[in-house]
Amino acid sequence: MKDADRALVVAVTTRAVFDAAAGDVYGMGVAFPLLQSLQKVNERLLEKNPAESLLFDVVLIATDSQQQSSRIISSTSHYGLEVGRFCFSSREDLVETLVVNNVQLFLSTDRDEALQVSQKGVLSALLGRQEAPSESLRVMLCGDAIVRPDCDPVPASRGAAQSFSARLGEMRGRFGVSGSPLSIVLVTSSGGSKSCGVALQTLRSRGLSVDEAYCLAGAPRGPILSLLRPHFLLGDGVIDLED
């Protein structure tokens, strides 16, 4: 198990990772590319520094009684996924499970689930759809909440969001400008170039350097999002990446 203090603990539901299928091994779900990308980042970090402690620590959480624990574990090893911990919990105990496991980011495909979790103070995000494997882990940050924190739809998890982005920034800083296995993408939906500038400066002051920036100033988000194909989107409460 990774160094508890330094690792970035990311929890994903098994429902998102695996598709229910007949047979001993589950099919690959929506979160599959994400896990592979997280793994890639860890590999590159360890390449640079075998003693690196700032790594992603993946926790798989099963709340779905339909999925069998044995098949979850065997599927995980079948695909060679590196999972730090398995937690077999229930829907009611989900938040507690996350807190007990020191989860810094919870990822789900279920909007209600993600919202419920973030309202309890655990940073949560919806997973994006990846049609093709990506070269890097693409994390999208929504700048609007950064610029106007009063308009943050989920103030409870704001603190968690800030500390996560600082750690993420530290991790990003381990790599150079090009060829990084981790890309940070900033999108501001409303507000003009000035507010995007404020977001860039705020993030920089938190230690997070952004790779790509898109200022939409009210233009529809859909076409841009489908080009950007983030693995997940942070900082906008919980929004639907399909919007």
């Binding site: 400008v177 995007c196 500038g197 860039l200 790509e212 920036a213 100033a217 233009a219 076409p223 080009l227």
Partner: protein, 369 residues
């Protein structure tokens, strides 16, 4: 000797007097007055950028909107990390205006006039900065935009990946870049695009009227006639044009942009502002009015496109004529003409389209077409 034959229908007298170019090219040493900036902010918050589908979207790259030669050299000589470090170090130093700057300022002038006449309308120019620069340069670019009082609220900094997808997502009507490869990519996707270059000499342009000049073949029209000229020579070209006088030319990559300009012009005409219209378009072609020019004019007419002035040079150099017109931008498919225009201080943009791209030799001056 430049001989210009007059077509009784379309060609008008040139009565262009260049206006002094005061602040449309703000020197980056100028101090911004505090009050002006607040007022600017006030305006900015009141006017929202239009929806992409309603607007005429012009995407410009940072290298053509501003002067970044020094930074380019740092990039080429010392690599990307050093380049970004340099940019961040100089973050509070705005870039100087680049070749596309006067054009963008003129678009904003048109917008101001359109807003006066049609306060609710979203049929405006929308200027988007599309750069494959890294977001580390973002703060310097935004500072520069603010410094020059540009109304650019939308941008894409793609951090190195191709901006073409974003051009399509923004429904871009025109893309201007310093990178010929990106421009070719855009043209291949059906987006009007041209490469711009920095020139040392820049003549003053109007602050109150946007002037856009186009070459004919391989810009507004397809390159079919140029193909014949290059393959078979002048006589065959003339014959072909005569035989096909009543056949429309096929459209070229910039036709759509001329069309978009025409739609905005009509909005001024509808309010009785034809004489005072802040948009003026020019055709500057090597064709000759009495012969091969007729087909060009018939084609424009059939397309329902008005062009304010058509200048048939019959093969004479374009530089002097452009120097009189003083367009904010001139589109041509041949580098020979782009360079000739630039020598005389006209901002010319190269459209890398059609058969001319395979021929690198400059045309002999005086070749009649």
């Amino acid at each position: 000797m430049v001989k210009m034959s007059l077509d009784p229908v379309q060609v008008k007298e040139l009565n262009v007097s260049p206006s002094p170019n005061g602040d449309s090219r703000a020197s980056w040493e100028e101090e911004e007055v505090e009050e002006e900036e607040e007022d600017r902010l006030g305006i900015a918050t009141k006017t929202k950028p239009p929806k992409p589908e309603n607007a005429v979207t012009v995407a410009v790259s940072s290298r053509v909107l501003f002067r970044t030669e020094l930074e380019q050299r740092v990039f080429e000589q010392k690599g990307v990390e050093e380049y970004l470090r340099y940019q961040i170090e100089h973050e509070n130093e705005p870039f100087a205006p680049g070749p596309a700057f006067p054009f963008v300022k003129a678009l904003e002038t048109v917008n101001a006039r359109l807003r006066e006449l049609y306060p609710q309308s979203e049929e405006l120019f929308d200027i988007v900065l599309v750069t494959y620069n890294h977001a580390h340069v973002g703060i310097r670019l935004i500072n520069t935009i603010n410094h020059h009082n540009l109304f650019i609220e939308r941008f894409c900094m793609t951090g190195g990946s191709s901006p073409i997808g974003y051009l399509k997502a923004w429904q871009t009507n025109l893309y201007l870049s310093a990178d010929a490869d990106k421009v070719r990519e855009a043209l291949a996707e059906g987006i009007a695009a041209a490469t711009m270059f920095m020139t040392e000499k820049l003549t003053e342009v109007s602050e109150s009227q946007l002037r856009v000049a186009f070459d004919g073949d391989a810009v507004l029209f397809s390159d079919e006639s140029e193909r014949i000229f290059k393959a078979h020579g002048l006589d065959k070209f003339f014959q072909h044009e005569q035989d096909n006088e009543d056949t429309l030319l096929d459209h070229g990559p910039l036709k759509g942009f001329l069309e978009a300009l025409g739609k905005l012009q009509k909005k001024f005409y509808a309010k009785g502002q034809r004489l005072d219209c802040p948009i003026r378009t020019y055709l500057v072609t090597a064709r000759s009015a009495a012969s091969s020019g007729i087909r060009a004019l018939k084609t424009l007419r059939a397309w329902g496109l008005e062009i304010d002035e058509a200048l048939f040079l019959a093969g004479a150099p374009k530089g002097p004529m452009l120097e009189k017109i003083r367009p904010h931008i001139y589109f041509d498919d041949q580098m020979f003409h782009v360079e000739g225009a630039a020598e005389m201080g006209t901002v010319a943009a190269h459209v890398p389209y059609g058969v001319a791209q395979k021929h690198n030799q400059p045309q002999k001056p005086g070749a009649r077409k």
